[in-house]
């Protein structure tokens, strides 16, 4: 290696740089300000064949190498970090796993249009309880005949809502951690697959990031990617392989910020000469250039190793970590060099500064990068102290709850059952508090979520609050985005904490940040039409139904005319929740009664904890009486 990129690659760089200067740079400010997805620019990129850059021509790709791919992302990000995000998520995260793990049919059906740029891809791994630790995945896929039924939610998904093809990770065998995860190809527009929140981000605002919701989505069996249980492996290899892309993006942001502030420093005159020649600034420029060069070496070296099929997991992690740290540092110094001007909207360095931060966070945080790197150097720790038990995914954000969810029966029956339970819990609806009682002091709150619909429907909430003798609250979007209620009335981790007794959540799906605001509630009631909404796993009583139908009935049931003023609040104790059966099967031997517990495995036969009974070798026999595997049944 000559520590220099060869001529062909430099030529490619010129080509793509020219494209970015023309198609991205002039619009980047607008896209950032308006949070606008650059659909036209992406279409043009696709026409150039660059959305399939590293894939073979037979699958519609450009058949180029990883070095070219890294350079492409770098050059896009040099003009706009968000565009780098869109393309690297499309190529590395959404398309690559189909290329690497897909069947021939899957590649023809899905990879070809993706590589040709006719369609856009996304990758759905992250969930509220599964960030760096994919073992916390809660989305489930249950096999029913010739299809899987997908349920759950994904958050922070790049290209979410814009993409046509999604690689989604879901649990097919519950209770055994990462080995129970499988990957699926899911198409936009399938019934039950909807886009939830679009996130209002600090940076990379031209890229779309959204929440994905799956409610009984039918996924044909042939859309299983790889084998059942391979999902975690697919996810990790995809993230490992995609790291060069993120590293390239960070490098591009650093490069863009560096070039911009250098131009400014040469132009801006203070104390009689351009500030670039003031030592304070010239040293900054020297440091930036040094770091950028080091980052570039790391990035290109990892790309080159990948092109030569040399394992580069550690080197790619080093490149991602170092390049992203460099991006943030360079962008920060670039703003500093611009001084007050750099602090204003419209300056590219201000945007680069915000864009840079995400590169330290996503596709494996820099903390995880250090885990990866040190594991490559040091290997596995000598011995696991305790077997990893299944992630206790049954634990809720709001702590143990009764989770009595009424799904069947008429709306009236469900409401009656709810009211009966509330009265038995000791709620007296002849007394009440004013609707404007501060949330933190309220004994009862009726809260509205986005599911309430139009603003007219807030009347339903007001009526229910009056009938229940409760104050009015809301979820964050209802106060912040929709502005149905004043901002100080939204409940959540970042808003007001509810510490009273009764919380009635109407049309609230139950984002973690909201749930953290109602942990101390004695009783949580959820009313939502989506039976899979997380709020139901976090409630004491739930009614699956439309708020338009349920709220008037509940209002009527609780209405006792004018409320007497409530006595000082007496906190209602939360009852102990019923212990639930574990999510995995214990099998019992017909020959002796021995119980096979997947959480314990069978150490004497080298079966590690976490092995389901189905996955035991066919010749495995009962450790106590040698009965064959076939003579076991569910305990």
């Amino acid at each position: 290696m000559q520590f220099r990129v060869d001529e062909a690659h430099e030529k490619f760089r010129e080509e793509i740089r020219a494209f970015a200067e023309k198609e991205i740079k002039p619009y980047a400010f607008q896209w950032d300000r308006e949070n606008k997805f650059p659909r036209e620019m992406i279409t043009k990129l696709g026409q150039k064949g660059w959305l399939g850059l590293p894939f073979p021509k037979e699958y519609g790709g450009a058949g180029m190498d990883i070095m070219s791919y890294a350079i492409a992302i770098e050059e896009l990000a040099r003009c706009d970090g968000g565009c780098g995000t869109i393309v690297s998520a499309h190529i590395s995260l959404g398309s690559w796993p189909i290329y690497a793990f897909g069947t021939e049919e899957q590649k023809k059906k899905y990879l070809v249009p993706l590589a040709k740029g006719e369609k856009l891809a996304a990758f759905g791994l992250t969930e509220p309880n599964a960030g760096s630790d994919a073992g916390g995945t809660e989305t489930t896929a249950v096999l029913e005949g010739d299809h899987y039924v997908l349920n759950g939610e994904k958050i922070f998904i790049t290209n979410g809502g814009e993409a046509d093809t999604y690689v989604i990770f879901a649990v097919t065998t519950p209770g055994i951690g990462t080995r129970g995860i499988s990957a699926f190809i899911v198409e936009s527009g399938w019934e039950g697959f909807t886009i939830g929140d679009h996130y209002d981000k600090l940076g990379i605002r031209s890229s779309a990031t959204a929440q994905l919701l799956f409610e009984d989505v039918i996924v044909p069996k042939e859309n299983l990617l790889g084998k059942e249980g391979q999902g975690f492996k697919i996810a990790m290899e995809t993230l490992d392989g995609g790291r060069v892309g993120v590293a390239g993006q960070a490098l591009g942001i650093a490069q863009g910020a560096y070039e911009s502030c250098m131009a400014y420093a040469k132009d801006r005159v203070q104390f009689g000469k351009p500030i670039a020649f003031q030592e304070a600034i010239s040293f900054k420029i020297a440091d930036m250039a040094t770091n950028i060069r080091a980052a570039r070496m790391l990035v290109y070296s990892a790309a080159e190793m990948k092109d030569q099929h040399i394992p580069q997991g550690m080197e790619a992690a080093m490149a991602k970590q170092f390049a992203s740290d460099t991006a943030l540092h360079v962008a920060q110094e670039a703003v500093q060099i611009y001084g007050g001007n750099g602090y204003l909207k419209g300056m590219d360095v201000e945007r680069f500064y915000r864009d840079a931060k995400i590169t330290q966070i996503y596709e494996g945080t820099n903390e995880i990068m250090r885990v990866v790197i040190s594991a490559h150097i040091l290997g596995k720790p000598p011995k696991k102290e305790t077997p990893i038990l299944a992630s206790s995914s049954t634990s809720n954000v709001t702590g143990p709850r009764k989770k009595i969810v009424m799904k069947k029966g008429t709306a009236q029956e469900k409401v009656d059952a709810l009211v009966e339970n509330l009265k038995a819990d000791g709620y007296d609806f002849t007394v009440g508090i004013p609707a404007d009682t501060p949330i933190g002091e309220a004994e009862r709150v009726v809260s509205a979520g986005k599911g309430i619909g139009s603003k007219d429907n807030m009347k339903l909430i007001e009526d229910l609050a009056a009938a229940a003798g409760a104050a009015i609250g809301s979820s964050r979007p209802v106060a912040e985005t929709l502005q149905y209620v004043p901002i100080e009335r939204y409940v959540g981790m970042s808003g007001q904490k509810f510490r009273g007794n009764l919380y009635i959540a109407c049309g609230i799906s139950g984002a973690i940040q909201h749930l953290k605001g109602i942990i101390d509630a004695s009783t949580i009631v959820a009313i939502n039409k989506n039976a899979n909404a997380p709020i139901f796993k976090n409630c004491d009583y739930g009614i699956v139904g439309d708020v338009n139908e349920i709220l008037p009935l509940l209002t009527k049931a609780l209405d006792t005319g004018k409320k007497k003023p409530a006595p000082p609040m007496k906190k209602i104790k939360r009852p102990t929740p019923k212990k639930e059966k574990p999510p995995y099967k214990i099998m019992v031997c017909d020959g002796c009664g021995y119980e096979y517990d997947p959480m314990k495995g069978d150490p004497a036969a080298d079966i590690p904890p976490g092995t389901t009974f189905e996955r035991l070798p066919e010749d495995w026999t009962c450790p106590d009486c040698a009965e064959p595997k076939s003579n076991f049944q569910e305990a």
Binding site: P575, T576, K578, E580, K581, G591, C592, G593, Q633
Partner: protein, 404 residues
């Protein structure tokens, strides 16, 4: 002299009642005795179904000879090889050298292990679904592994509907002349013995009972008599019995009720248990029982746990641990697979009160699907007058958890 009862045409009970045995399996007290049931079918062939314990052999032989009335014994079906049923087999074989034995493959392994001498006897091995015709009567065999031994099977006479159910549907308590369940006041005099037998002898094997019940369901209309190896023969109200077994096999309580078990060295923990019982009763709970773990045989405690929905454990601390008989009770509940119950705890101690935490840890970690109420009463040596509110709160929490 013979003591024989007719089950139906050509089918006779030739079992024996035993009041002299103190401990069944040398572990469970049987103050009301036990019966060993053996049956004989008179067809073209003469068929005996299981034998009795050794001590009862002479009476059984007199019964057998009387029923055979001079005929030879052609076949012995051994459904279960546990010695309380198979021990007298050797005597029968010696007296009837032409008898053929019918059993499962595993049954013959046990026959050899226990040292039976069957030289010269035809040994027929049967498996699930096989049938044998004895003349007018054809029987089929249903494997019943781990109810409660691995070799066990049950035999259904397809002609008269008699189900020879081995230890399934068995019970403690001697028959003493009666034989059919409709000849006794079952709910008053028998169900407790039936439950105590089931819970302690077969309790661990709920999944296997369920498996057997599932096999029995499709042929339920064919079953006219249930003939177990201990206790009553059922010819009516079979659904009632099956319903009880479904509860027991699924570890579901029969009633919403509270059982309070206390371990008390000097009466202070006992007082706490009584205080709670009074509060519960005052607040309207109807089904409450209280036991002293030190002087109640654990088989009775296990039986009661299978009946009720709620259990309160009140234990003093002993050697920094759980009072040993209480720990025995916990171990027994674990061994017998007790689950789907709600527990509440009262702890006592005079310097380091540990029993509550330890019992909670045991219930949470060693047992399956046990809910332990968060409210707990802690007594330092002797409950104080102002602790009444604690007992009231515990009672309220128990009552609250009984809802729904």
């Amino acid at each position: 002299m013979h003591i024989v009862r007719k089950v139906t045409d050509n089918l006779y009970w030739i079992g024996v009642n035993d009041h002299r045995l103190t401990l069944f399996e040398n572990i469970h007290p049987i103050p009301e005795g036990v019966s060993y049931n053996s049956y004989v079918l008179l067809d073209k062939k003469t068929v005996m179904f299981d034998t009795v314990d050794w001590d009862s052999c002479r009476q059984m032989m007199e019964n057998l000879e009387y029923v055979l009335d001079g005929r030879d014994l052609d076949v012995i079906v051994v459904n279960h090889w546990e010695p309380d049923h198979a021990a007298s087999l050797q005597a029968v074989l010696s007296r009837y050298p032409n008898a053929e034995i019918i059993s499962t493959e595993k049954g013959y392994i046990f026959m050899k292990q226990f040292g039976f001498e069957a030289e010269g006897h035809k040994l027929t091995t049967v498996k699930e679904g096989d049938t044998t015709c004895f003349g007018d009567h054809t029987v089929t065999y249903i494997e019943a592994p781990m109810v409660h031994w691995p070799e066990a099977m049950i035999t259904l006479d397809l002609t008269n509907g008699a189900l020879f159910s081995a230890d399934a549907f068995g019970s403690f308590k001697a028959l003493d002349g009666k034989m059919f369940s409709d000849e006794v006041n079952y709910d008053r005099d028998w169900i407790d013995s039936n439950r105590r037998y089931l819970a302690n002898i077969v309790g661990k094997y709920g999944p296997h009972i369920r498996k057997l019940l599932n096999k029995a369901l499709p042929v339920l209309d064919k079953i006219k008599f249930i003939c177990p190896l201990h206790g009553l023969v059922w010819r009516s109200n079979i659904d009632y019995l099956l319903d009880k077994y479904t509860h027991w096999a699924n570890y579901e309580p029969e009633v919403k009720g509270v059982m309070i078990v206390y371990a008390s060295m000097y009466g202070n923990t006992e007082q706490a248990a009584q205080a709670l019982a009074a509060q519960l009763s005052e607040k309207g709970v109807k089904d409450i029982s209280v036991f002293d773990v030190s002087n109640t045989h654990v088989s009775y405690l296990i039986s009661e746990v299978f009946r009720v929905s709620h259990v309160v454990l009140a234990s003093c601390t002993y050697n920094l641990g759980i009072f040993p008989p209480m720990l025995d009770f916990l171990e027994d509940m674990k061994a017998l697979n007790v689950q789907n119950r709600t527990f509440a705890l009262i702890e006592n101690g005079s310097w380091a009160i540990r029993s509550g935490d330890l019992m909670r840890e045991f219930l949470d970690q060693q047992m399956k699907t046990i809910t332990v109420l968060n409210e707990r009463v802690t007594v330092a040596s002797h409950a104080k007058e102002d602790q009444n509110v604690d007992f009231a709160a515990l009672a309220d929490s128990i009552i609250e958890s009984m809802r729904s």
